[in-house]
């Protein structure tokens, strides 16, 4: 593995950058919890990762949601970066830690550690760009393999079709996106526009809700180690033949 030292430097810089970011975040979070010490409720942190081809508007979506800002200027994201925003769900304050990734990077460059520990994966595509829709399968597959979630069938994914303000240039119909979602186990689908702040708020709220629901269920499902393991091989075979996923 001694090849390509020069290229690795790039990777290292990415990881150290996100590491720094993370430490800083820990600190922030800590102070926050101190100042709200009077309240006994534990603050939940949900890690949300946005994936998708370059130029579909991942950074814009995140910026619109967190900062309520939009810029027409395109700037490629390098590595990964996050912003946080607190949302209230059923009188519970949840911190959404939204990780924006670089669409130009190859899938593997962020490493498995980045994907593992995500509470929700947001797949984004550009409704005016059919190729970005086609890549969704790759992004999803790559996420699943790298993150290795405990229960991949029910891991919360959300699909966002961005740039619906450009209706005249649409290349992917809402029906097509929806039927894709159906084949992936009824992933929720939202048509949004980061530019016009259309549906962005609602989509992220739903994302938070989904991830939260999943999280509480996960702790119920897997108190210590996965108990869904079937020990009876016959039972296993039956399930194979009658798989309805």
């Amino acid at each position: 593995m001694s090849i390509l030292i020069s290229l690795f430097i790039f990777d290292i810089s990415i990881s150290s950058r996100s590491l720094l970011g993370f430490q800083f975040f820990c600190f922030q979070r800590n102070t926050a919890s101190i100042t709200t010490m009077s309240g006994t409720r534990k603050k939940a942190l949900l890690k949300v990762i946005i994936l998708g081809d370059s130029g579909v508007g991942k950074t814009s979506l995140m910026n619109q949601y967190v900062n309520r800002r939009f810029s027409n200027q395109y700037k490629a994201t390098i590595g990964a970066d996050f912003l946080t925003r607190d949302v209230n769900i059923d009188d519970r304050t949840v911190t959404l830690q939204i990780w924006d990734t670089a669409g130009q990077e190859r899938f593997q460059s962020l490493g498995v550690a980045f994907y593992r520990g995500a509470d929700c994966c947001v797949l984004a595509f550009d409704v005016t760009n059919a190729a970005s829709f086609k890549s969704l399968d790759s992004w999803r597959d790559e996420f699943l393999i790298q993150a290795s979630p405990r229960d991949p069938d029910h891991f919360p994914f959300v699909l966002l079709g961005n740039k619906v303000d450009l209706e005249s240039q649409r290349a992917v119909s809402s029906k097509r996106a929806q039927s894709w979602c159906q084949t992936k186990g009824n992933i929720p689908y939202y048509e949004v526009s980061a530019k016009e702040a259309l549906n962005v708020e609602a989509a992220f709220l739903a994302i938070a809700r989904d991830a939260l629901a999943r999280e509480s269920q996960e702790t119920n499902d897997f108190p210590e180690f996965p108990d869904q393991i079937r020990l009876n091989p016959n039972q296993q075979n039956q399930q194979n033949s009658g798989c309805n996923c």
Binding site: C26, N30, T31, D137, S148, P152, I229
Partner: protein, 931 residues
């Protein structure tokens, strides 16, 4: 228990009492402060045996030295004596006083504070129930401690006695309580721009501290940061409790607690040991991992501990100093620990020291990882295996069920474990392998990029082949692993679909076949572009009642699959399309007419048509309709083929239809074209629409193909295309008796600018008035001169046929209605002339009325046009007259304004201002301007 440390003397029987120690690491020097204010420095002797006194400073202080701290980078030795905090020059043999903090006279204790966000040195000083913050900086030309505002909530009521800082956190004790203080730089103070222009003094720095009480205690305070473990320990009577570096206790209770045999006076952390100073000179050493007692030793009158280099602790008694060193017994201890299976400690000791070669360390870790594996701590085990980059195969050998036959079996594998543990092992293995495969795929991808840019070396290529080989094994095993672990079947499909998936196709196929995972098998075929296998599988499954629900809609899947293949796979598409077409015509046509992608649109249409001709003629019409109407194919080949199929279809349907309803077209029961029940009506409607819209078919062929004695609407349209309007209209009027259709026809073809097409309404009129007379003299066309000679025979044949059966009655009334309705589009005079002489006037009346009205309207329009023209004319004339009235005098003195020569008798021009010029000069000057 084992002898972790061996004590050696540094200095014995000193003349003064030692009060405190500090270690100067870069010089390997121990500094000892004395009761009388002396300072001793001991360095490792040149022959590396023990320490020797290298310096003694008797004038260091006048009173006892209470605390010493080395600040190597700033070259400072900080020291508390007589309630004063002073900074000495460290490199100075005399240890000259650099500066001292005047402000605080009763310094209790202090700690260095080095926040990560700045490189500056700060000290936090405790004095009389308060904490102060000072920054080492420059003031008035020399370095000294400058006070920095520190604002905190005074949660504590007593003087802090012990302070330690970890990053931005400050931990301290006051009376019987430990506190944490979160430090944050006052951003507002730093940001506010100086309003007054006194820019000479920059905005004072400020810090905020948030103090929070942690735990109480009832002994000598001790705060021990353990940075490598990211924890902080607090002495609480005989127990030592720990928090994380933010001061938070573990959620799940007191997991990291250490208990000493009695209340320690002081504890230092020397990874992986906690070294405690107990009463009567006893030193107790405990493991950081499990808190077990490792060693106790007794050093007479020992009182104080001080960290030396890693693995060294100095111990000071009233007049003796020892060093406790781990290095002497280290090898022995590590092997002992390995034997005892205390791998965590062994690894920590080996990592801390430079006595062990890397291979040796890896060996230890490998043993440790194996041990973890046998303890069923699978995740930890794989993490450790991963850390030392163990060959994947070594790990895989422990999972013989995942390996193909032919790999040698080893003992102690998961096969011997209970089923539940085996599952946990497989889950952990899956996580580990997915990480490994990601790493490998990443390197392979980088290599491909390198190669693409031409930078790859030969060594890289070899390396790459190795990586690929490993990835192949990993991916294949991962596949087996996912299949075995029943909670993750979804990942099987994702893994197969990955672009970088390196499973051998045959292996993967065999695995999936044995497991009966046909759905995954299909995905494998698809992602590896084994189209035939994929399609065969779909076909095979489509007929099985017990197939996986995934194959429920196999036909649709085949259609979609074929749609995605494109021109390069056209023979394959056609091969399977045949199957689909036989099963479901609509679905089959969809293969060629999908608009989802460009693939179907770009297929070679001629080949498709040829294919359909032989294999599935029924599909031709829907296919070509899509091609022509949706994709607007202009080539006449397709138009004619479609027409041919329309006509053939219509002909055959018509035959059946007439057979079923013999009187459908009788005079009493007229069925209009396209209104027939069933398919005939539908196809005829489409045919008519096509004839109307398309311009790319050759009419004469169609006329030949259409069955005689029927399809008059179609004929009429085709004749219209040939501008044979008289015949077309005769069909409408005489044969079909459908005047509205005739009007629609006229509306379609009428064009006032075309010599022939402008006559259509008149021709309709004539057809009504003289139904038995076909050729209007003005429209007479010589049959031989047209290229459509052949069809004319045919038409005349039908018309004579029609004529022979009956002679048509003129329908003057309808003709008059037409004339009235379209008076503006008919040559009215010609029309009226055609009327039979005996037509009653009252019948003609309405028409004449319309004609007169139209003529009147036309007359007034003309009148209007005339007046407008006249008006324009008179205006022009007036201008002309005005121009002619201008008098130009050219005499002998008249000169050209350009060449200034006489005009004389040459041609000339006159400018509007009256100047004259030769025509040539004018032209020249014009062209001159132009160039």
């Amino acid at each position: 228990m084992f002898d972790a440390y061996t004590p050696n003397e540094v200095a014995l029987r000193l003349p003064v009492e030692v009060t405190c120690l500090a270690f100067h690491e870069s010089k390997q020097t121990l500094l000892a402060g004395g009761q009388a204010g002396h300072l001793y420095a001991y360095s490792i002797s040149a022959n590396r045996r023990g320490f020797e006194l290298t310096n003694i400073c008797k004038t260091f202080h006048k009173k006892a030295v209470m605390e010493l701290k080395v600040c190597q980078r700033e070259d400072l030795l900080l020291c508390v004596s007589d309630g004063q905090l002073m900074a000495h020059r460290l490199s100075d043999p005399e240890y000259k006083v650099e500066t001292l903090i005047h402000k605080i006279k009763k310094v209790q204790t202090f700690a260095r504070f080095s926040p990560k966000t700045s490189g500056d040195l700060y000290v936090i000083v405790s004095s009389v129930k308060r904490l102060y913050l000072f920054k080492w900086g420059e003031k008035d030309g020399h370095k000294e401690f400058i006070e920095v505002a520190l604002d905190y909530n005074p949660e504590f009521g007593d003087t802090p006695t012990h302070i330690k800082c970890v990053g931005e956190m400050v931990f301290f004790s006051a009376r019987n309580q430990y506190y944490s203080m979160t430090m944050q730089k006052d951003k507002i103070a730093a940001r506010t721009p100086p309003d007054d222009k006194s820019a000479t003094s920059p905005i004072p720095e400020g810090w905020n501290g948030f103090v929070k009480s942690l735990v109480n205690f009832n002994c000598k305070p001790g705060i021990i940061p353990m940075i490598d473990r990211r924890r902080v320990a607090f002495v609480r009577n005989e127990t030592v409790v720990t928090t994380d570096i933010w001061g938070n206790r573990p959620v799940n209770g007191f997991s990291d607690e250490y208990k000493f045999s009695e209340v320690p006076m002081q504890i230092v952390y020397d990874s992986p040991y906690l070294v405690g100073m107990l009463s009567k000179g006893r030193v107790e050493i405990r493991s950081i991992f499990d808190g077990q007692l490792v060693q106790t030793m007794s050093l007479p009158k020992a009182m104080t501990l001080c960290n030396g280099a890693r693995g060294q602790v100095f111990v000071a008694a009233t007049s003796d100093i020892w060093i406790m060193d781990t290095s002497q017994n280290l090898r022995k201890n590590v092997s002992h620990l390995i034997q005892e299976r205390e791998f965590e400690m062994a690894i920590q000791l080996a990592d801390n020291s430079n006595l062990f070669a890397d291979e040796h360390k890896i060996e230890i870790k490998k043993k440790a990882a194996l041990n973890l594996f046998n303890q069923k701590k699978f995740d930890e085990s794989f993490a450790l295996f991963g850390e030392i980059k163990t060959e994947v195969l070594t790990i895989l050998r422990m999972f013989p069920e995942l390996l193909p036959d032919g790999f040698q079996k080893v003992a102690g594998t998961v096969s011997d474990m209970p089923a539940n543990d085996r599952m946990r092992a497989l889950l952990a293995l899956g996580n580990y392998l997915s990480e490994i495969r990601t790493e490998h795929a990443k390197h392979i991808d980088l290599y491909h990029r390198l190669r693409a840019s031409g930078q790859a070396k030969k060594a890289d290529t070899e390396e790459m082949e190795k990586l690929l080989l490993t990835l192949r094994v990993v991916d294949t095993t991962l596949l087996r692993c996912y299949i075995k672990v029943n909670t993750k079947p979804a990942l099987v499909d994702s893994l197969i679909r990955l672009q970088s998936n390196a499973c051998t196709f045959e292996d993967a196929k065999k695995i999936l076949e044995t497991e009966g995972r046909l759905r995954s098998l299909f995905i494998l075929y698809e992602s590896r572009k084994k189209h035939e296998m994929a399609l065969d599988l779909l076909i095979e499954q489509s007929s099985r009642p017990d197939a996986d629900p995934f194959f429920d809609d196999a036909t649709q899947q085949i259609v979609e699959y074929l749609q995605s293949l494109g021109n390069s796979n056209l023979p394959l598409i056609l091969k399977y399309a045949k199957w689909v077409l036989a099963k479901d015509l609509d679905a089959g046509v969809q293969i060629f007419t999908s608009d989802e992608t460009e693939m179907a649109r770009n297929l070679n249409r001629k080949t498709v048509v040829e294919f359909m001709k032989t294999e599935c003629p029924e599909a031709m019409i829907p296919y070509l309709e899509h091609v022509i109407f949706k994709w607007e194919e202009p080539s006449s080949f397709f138009h004619e083929t479609l027409l041919e199929y329309y006509v053939a279809r219509v002909n055959s349907l018509f035959k059946d239809y007439v057979h079923a309803f013999p009187d459908a077209y009788s005079d009493e029961n007229i069925t209009r074209a396209g209104d027939e029940d069933g398919e005939l009506g539908i196809i005829r409607k489409r045919l008519l629409r096509f004839l109307e819209i398309s311009h790319s078919y050759s009419p004469q062929t169609v006329l030949l193909q259409l069955a005689p004695h029927a399809f008059f609407e179609e004929r009429a349209l085709i004749l219209g295309r040939l501008k044979q309007h008289d015949q077309a209209l005769a069909l409408y009027v005489n044969t079909l008796k459908n005047i509205p259709a005739a009007e629609d026809y006229c509306r379609l073809y009428y064009n006032s600018n075309d010599e022939t097409n402008s006559q259509v309404y008149l021709l309709l009129f004539r057809a009504l008035v003289h139904p038995n007379q076909h050729h209007h003299p003005r429209l007479q066309v010589d049959p031989d001169s047209t290229p459509f000679g052949s069809f004319r025979d045919d038409v005349s044949e039908t018309s004579t046929l029609a004529n022979s059966t009956s002679s048509y009655q003129p329908d003057v009334n309808t003709a008059i209605k037409i004339l009235a309705k379209y008076a503006d589009k008919i040559d009215t005079v010609a029309a009226l002339n055609m009327l039979p002489a005996k037509t009653p006037l009252r019948v003609v009346f309405s028409a004449i009325n319309a004609v007169i009205q139209t003529t009147g309207r036309q007359a007034s329009t003309r009148k209007m046009e005339k007046s407008v023209s006249q008006c324009a004319m008179s205006k022009k004339l007036e201008r002309k007259n005005r121009a002619q009235a201008t008098k130009i005098i050219v005499n002998f003195s008249s000169e050209c304004v350009v060449c200034e020569k006489k005009i004389a008798v040459s041609a000339f021009v006159r400018y509007p201002d009256g100047r004259l010029a030769h025509l040539y000069c004018h032209n020249d000057s014009q062209t001159g301007i132009r160039t």
